[in-house]
Assembly symmetry: C2
Homo-oligomer: 218 residues x 2
């Protein structure tokens, strides 16, 4: 107060603080769960006051929603953006998306996948948080389905393929691998998911598709 | 005290009360989670005193472990026992186990699958409860694998089949269907799991196996 400051830089500072809070929130929630994410713990971790945190997020629900959105940005930067740069639409991008997702799960074994953990916590609790998580998961499933459809249109996949069914099966393999690795400490889970994906795609690929597979899958 | 009672009938009564408590505990935990299962809620639901409940289970952890064991008995009675009676070992029993499991998931949509919910809650929390859940899930996976192996030995499945890999893929389909149905309200999830299972088994069945499939899958 009293000191003349540039209002733009104050807004920038506020946004920077918000981003910093959300980075820590995503990390904490990946480990302990989104619902256990308390403003108290977060304030302690950040060396901030609880009231300072409340100034950024009016309620626990707002904080949870903002954390989901931040986790989506992390996911986008780690998986979706590089896959778009690395591979053209269709089978190639589908393979890169899945492989990057599996690597993301492997790397985050300690914390686990933010979305799988949050989804399991909230699937039985109707409300805005659950709806926002479901929306994130649906976006990811839709993306896999769109690339499958694209591969079909490009003649990389057999005409008999049902894109929604295939996307469901591919997503099932990665999802179950994460679950088996984390709950049952199944060390072979990610290798099993990779094998399942490769064989499933091979079984429905045309000659063009086989060429894409050979070039993308080790 | 003071009144002469038959000690055997007193033990029987204690066991009957314990069973009654655990039936309610499994129902509550399927809905709200195993960790949220409080002795207070349970006492209220049963019209018992907290101290009465504590006499049966010395601690929350003991109650959680006993609840997992009770859920295992429910699962065994609904899925495993009838599958053993209904179908001979190998592909036929594998199909019946999976179909009964899917029906069990469909029927319990409100509460959801006790084990999936408990597993998601405890996968990041090392300890006896988590180990007991993991043991239950491993028993189920091992059962699917054993029937696959049996189908292989009976010449119902192609010699190239890796039983552990196939069991992993089949389990992934049912697990993901439960998840998609509950979080994303995907009404087609169970149909997708059934289609995935049928096509996956068809792709690795010998002529003998195809005959089993035709007779078991609608």
């Amino acid at each position: 107060m009293g000191i003349a400051t540039n209002p733009n830089s104050r807004i920038q500072q506020g946004e920077e603080t918000r981003r910093k809070i959300l980075r820590v929130a995503v990390d904490l929630a990946s480990g302990q769960g989104l619902d256990s994410l308390s403003i108290g713990d977060l304030a302690k971790e950040l060396g901030m006051s609880k009231s300072g945190l409340f100034a950024h997020f009016g309620s626990k629900e707002e904080l949870q929603i903002a954390t989901i959105e931040a986790a989506e940005r992390v996911f986008g930067a780690a998986i979706i953006k590089p896959a778009r740069e690395e591979a053209k639409p269709g089978l190639a991008r589908l393979i890169v998306l899945l492989e990057r997702y599996i690597r993301y799960l492997e790397d985050s074994v300690a914390g686990g996948c933010f979305f799988s953990a949050a989804a399991a916590e909230f699937d039985d609790r109707p409300g805005r948080v659950r709806d926002r998580i479901a929306q994130s998961m649906r976006t990811w499933c839709d993306m896999l389905e769109a690339e499958t459809r694209c591969g079909l249109e490009a003649g990389e996949l057999d005409a008999s393929v049902d894109p929604q069914q295939l996307a469901f099966e591919l997503e099932a393999l990665t999802h179950h691998a994460n679950f088996s690795r984390r709950l049952m400490a199944d060390e072979s889970a990610f290798a099993r998911a990779r094998t399942g994906i490769r064989e499933r795609l091979r079984s429905v690929s045309t000659a063009d598709g086989q060429a894409v597979l050979e070039s993308r899958v080790p």
